[in-house]
Amino acid sequence: MRLTPGPARDIDLDTVDLFDLDLYGTGDPHPVWDVMRAEAPLHHQVLPDGREFWSVTRYEDVCRVLGDHREFTSERGTVPTHLGQDDVAAGVLLTSTDPPRHTEVRRPLGSRLTARAVGSWEDSIRRSVTRFLEPALDGEVFDLAEKALLLPAIVTGPLLGIPEKDWEELVRLTAMVAAPSDPHFQLGSEAATLAISHHELVGYVTEWVKDRRHSGAEDDSLLHHLMSVRPGGAPLSDQEIALDGYSLLLGANVTTPHTVSGTVQALIERPEQYGKAQADPDLIPNLVEEGLRWTSAACNFMRYAVTDVPVAGGVVPAGAAVVAWIGSANRDAALFAAPHTFDITRPNAKRQIAFGFGPHFCIGAPLARLTLRVFFEELLHRCDSLDLAGEPDHLRSYFIAGMTHLPITAQKRHTP
């Protein structure tokens, strides 16, 4: 999807199809969401196959839906690609579990992913990022979107406990989960693509755990930590370990690359912003927040209404699915002045909700923030300027907003 919207156009909210993959692959959804926020903050759509969902697009309403598990449960699935099929992992997979069990399991996991805990990884992340950027600096065309798919694995692989030889395959599998309809990743059909990738990822973690049990080896990796925590006094079941391990892999892999690519694209299109950040590296943390707001890689999450819930001037009926459009909330003028302007000095950029909101706020956010800060510090330090070397290709997905290709060339900085 285009991150800088084109001109406003006539939009008929009665016929707009928010699940139309073309809208994201080649189209421009921001003008649609602009009209939804203004005219239909609670929007209802029936898909051609009869499935229905409601949408909230305003910042305040998106936070409400994501934040209130009593009215909007996660236990029937949270990803719109599964709309209409109750989540088979409900109550087991952490992201499909409501408090209080959710809180019990999340706390010990989160303790390993706080800003303080991940801070010790900074030097190792910087080395990985430096190595990642090296081939971009030789003056040749560098496809940032394609290469960046591997960046989270490079950074989080050692933290999770995943050997380097497995990274590429795992990244491909997580990309299949995130965008099962994109021609780069699809196998057979959308359903087959999802099943194959779920199966192999869960199978991977299951084997990992089995090997670990067998060898008795211990380390301080996150997957090993999953095996040793005792939320509520008992260890996680093997299925919980496998599903939460899968979820950590997915969360790490499928979003960060798109924030990197989308933010770099925004900087290339706005050399004055690039220059500003280069002149004052203290602006980089805010650049990262603005990049997160701007790209909103996790475009939405879904919840189901527990009872009839009044929201956004209407009522979501009990049992109905509600899609909370994060990509829209992050461009809500009620909170962000001139929301379609990319501004690395935006005073309240930190209020972006690209990591979600409420109990399921991204558990890896501190690590993602650290990785993005280090990435932009190194990029700005090493490159005088960046140029587009071709047209970007966008991901065909209504769930993950991202790119599959972003060819760029970099001018190496000679006086670092």
Partner: protein, 104 residues
């Protein structure tokens, strides 16, 4: 999605009832019928036809994991995850097992 009960046409394309009449009771059950019965059990369906689609029957990766395990245990063949989900019907899954057994 409800699937209408289907007549099973095993290899040779005989009619199901005709074959059952001919088969001596206690004789070997065709592989495709065994696979269809396994799916019916794990997908909680009264009946599954040879050409029924795994996903239309409500199949997902968790049932897929169980099916592949059971096939490995009962038939001694470890199906590839990819082949299994791309096959999508009991008839084609039975074909995969046959091919695997004959080593082609």
């Amino acid at each position: 999605m409800e699937s209408a009960p289907q007549v099973i046409h095993p290899r040779g394309g005989q009619d199901e009832t005709a074959r059952r009449d001919d088969a001596p009771s206690g004789g070997p059950v065709p592989l495709v019928d065994e696979i269809a019965a396994l799916w019916a059990e794990l997908l909680n369906r009264p009946e599954v036809g040879a050409e029924d689609d795994f996903f239309a029957l409500g199949g997902n990766s968790l049932t897929g994991i169980e099916i592949i395990e059971r096939v490995a245990r009962d038939h001694g063949v470890r199906l590839s995850v990819r082949d299994f989900y791309l096959a999508q019907t009991p008839a084609r899954v039975a074909g995969l097992i046959e091919r695997e057994r004959s080593g082609t």
